[in-house]
């Protein structure tokens, strides 16, 4: 665990994601205004940031900061639900496809491949379009529906890994002892797939944020249900980026929030990738650190240096 925390990517990624999850928990409690009510009667022009409204106001004088804080909960909740649900599906389908093989594998792989090539966003638009915009949307339900289109990638990776593990000695011996199939999959194989499960979870959370934001930006999800996507929907329909006096305080915060949350998760993902495959490291080591560790600036061919042990040595020396 401490070895994981040594990677700057993991540390930065963890901090970013933690800040946003915290925001999702306390955001609505510390929001200074109701995000939907107009705070003054001068309608028509959005007001730039001021002491009363730290991030300015929208066209109908709603407080942007409050919208950001309230909308964060919905956005992050949906993406986490999507991530958990998709990962559960991916584990169920991927591990059993790889473990059982045969026609079950053929069928499940086919299903995963179909979901992989179907363009997810247009499909979700049709589904949500028919669900109706008027109905009060439930974040958990939205998350699960998004997960239906997002599990296939993880399932394919888990299947490949399970396949390589199916005939290893420890699995064979578990089978000979007489362990049940579900127990072998859940307690013998799955623990060895932890990094793959983790990256596939992070991947689907990123997918969930992007997809939910896109769907609410399009207006297929009730536009009075505050999320970062609906904020961008209103900013775009008021042409906030096209005005002569750029109304940046309106469209910048929600977009940056989505981007930074996604970046945090992606950095975590890269960190895990590098942890599993040390060759990929090098990006995370600054030039100064590399020079101090006595590494060549340009790695020689065929001799890709694995940086971690060298670094640990240099730390001992200093």
């Amino acid at each position: 665990m401490t070895r994981l925390l040594r990677s700057p990517k993991i540390v930065v990624g963890l901090c970013l994601s933690a800040v946003f999850v915290l925001l999702a928990i306390i955001g609505p409690l510390i929001a200074p205004y109701n995000p939907s009510t107009s705070t003054s009667t001068i309608n028509g022009t959005p007001m730039p940031p001021s002491a009363a409204h730290l991030l300015g106001t929208t066209q109908v004088q709603q407080d942007v900061l409050s919208q950001l804080l309230v909308g964060g909960r919905s956005t992050i909740l949906v993406s986490l639900v999507a991530g958990v649900a998709a990962t559960v599906l991916a584990v169920l389908f991927g591990v059993s496809a790889g473990y059982f093989g045969g026609w079950a594998d053929d069928l499940l792989s086919m299903l995963a491949n179909i979901f992989l090539v179907l363009p997810a966003l247009p499909l979700l638009i049709v589904i949500f379009g028919f669900l109706g915009k008027g109905a009060n949307p439930n974040d958990a339900v939205i998350g699960v529906i998004i997960a239906i289109t997002g599990w296939a990638f993880g399932a394919r990776q888990l299947r490949a890994q399970t396949l390589s593990m199916r005939s290893r000695d420890f699995v064979d011996s578990a089978r000979i002892i007489g362990e049940k199939n579900w127990r072998i999959m859940g307690f013998e194989i799955l623990p060895n797939l932890t990094p793959v499960v983790a990256t596939s979870f992070l991947f689907t959370v990123i997918y969930g944020v992007g997809t939910y934001t896109a769907l609410s930006f399009l207006g297929v999800i009730d536009t009075s249900h505050w999320s970062w996507g609906t904020m961008l929907y209103w900013a775009q329909s008021a042409q906030a980026a096209q005005q002569v006096h750029l109304e940046w305080w309106w469209f910048l915060p929600p977009g940056l929030a989505v981007g930074l949350f996604g970046t945090g998760l992606a950095l975590l993902n890269f960190g895990i990738d590098e942890f599993v495959n040390p060759r990929l490291r090098g990006g995370g080591v600054s030039r100064r650190v590399a020079r101090r560790a006595g590494l060549p600036r340009r790695p020689e061919l065929g001799l890709t240096p694995v940086l971690a042990p060298v670094l640990r040595g240099s730390e001992k020396a200093s």
Partner: protein, 326 residues
């Protein structure tokens, strides 16, 4: 060519699944919203249109589910996607046909640029590991994680509104120009396409860079690369040996990426009011135009499947192992 025939069969199955899903979604949803739409349009539209809609959504019709399904297929195979509610009496097929070339040209050019540029940058980043290119990766990650339409909004704000270098919206100057095959029109179209294309490239390039970099690093450890360098071949030659082999997973990953890129491009079009399928989709959502919505879903899916097939052909051409299998 067994690989290609197998892929074609797979895409056919996928297309059938997509078409079937498209048929069942309106029938499975709680409180069929098509009923509400029917109620709304009852006053304004002709009996014929309403009868067609009732048939399309299985409302108040005596035909059974299987009969409706067969009818739906026969309409599709005749190229009949139904009639738009919002642009009545325009047909859904005609509306999409008018919008599709804009989208395909924009997405096609932007995707090719992004793929080529991203792959080259990935090779460079792997070759000079630890150089400034690695420092660029976090910024690239941000553009990858941020939604396409947010990158588009930023591009509009900076390059169109603030600097005024490019027009902020639409596909060409609709007030002064008529579509035609002359230089004035074409240059105007290019001028309007630059900003959306740059947005798509910026938002999609990080994946290619990172994928190529990581694959290059693995390939550079292979013995044949070491031998090439030991022989004293010029670096450019050595790089090309490694890059050619590292490229294969990128091409294979193309089929996964194309769905994302198309979805992102549709959103980009909305920000720019670009006259493509994405903008049409946006109007369809705004006006509850269900037939148009479903038609667009089908056409996008079929286009993506075709693009996938093209990528498979390229892959079979690049990798002789797939051809020898048969």
């Amino acid at each position: 060519m067994r690989m290609i025939t197998r892929r074609i069969a797979f895409y056919l199955v996928t297309a059938v699944v997509a078409i079937t899903v498209n048929f069942f979604i309106p029938r499975l949803m709680p409180g069929n919203p098509a009923l509400a739409v029917l109620g709304r349009v009852q006053a304004q539209e002709s009996k014929q249109a309403i009868a067609a809609l009732e048939l399309q959504y299985g409302v108040a019709t005596k035909t059974g589910l299987w009969g409706q399904y067969v009818q739906y297929w026969s309409h599709l195979l005749h190229g009949n996607l139904g009639t738009s509610l919002n642009f009545y009496p325009a047909s859904v097929g005609g509306l999409i046909q008018a919008a599709l070339p804009w989208t395909i040209a924009l997405v096609g050019v932007a995707t090719v640029i992004s793929f080529v540029l991203g792959t080259l940058l990935g090779v460079a980043a792997a070759w000079k590991r630890g150089s400034w290119l690695d420092g660029l990766l976090p910024a690239m990650t941000f553009f990858q994680a941020a939604p396409y339409f947010f990158v588009a909004i930023l591009a509009v704000a900076l390059f169109a509104t603030k600097l005024g270098w490019f027009p902020p919206n639409s596909g060409y100057d609709t007030t002064t120009l008529n579509p035609g095959f002359d230089w004035a029109f074409i240059s105007n179209v290019i001028d309007h396409a630059v900003l959306p294309a740059v947005t798509i490239v910026l938002a999609s390039i990080a994946g290619w860079i990172i994928g190529m970099r990581n694959m290059m690093i693995t390939t550079m450890d292979e013995d044949y690369v070491l031998l090439a360098q030991a022989k004293g071949l010029p670096s450019r030659r050595v790089i090309s040996y490694a890059a050619r082999n590292a490229l294969l997973p990128s091409v294979a990953g193309f089929s996964l990426a194309i769905g994302f890129i198309v979805s992102g491009a549709l959103l980009t079009e909305i920000v720019f009011s670009y006259p493509g399928v994405g903008y049409l989709l946006f109007t369809a959502i705004g006006s509850d135009d269900y037939p148009l919505l479903q038609g667009i879903f089908l056409i996008i899916t079929l286009t993506v499947l075709l693009a996938n097939l093209a990528a498979d052909f390229v892959y079979a051409f690049l990798d002789p192992r797939t051809r020898q299998e048969a």
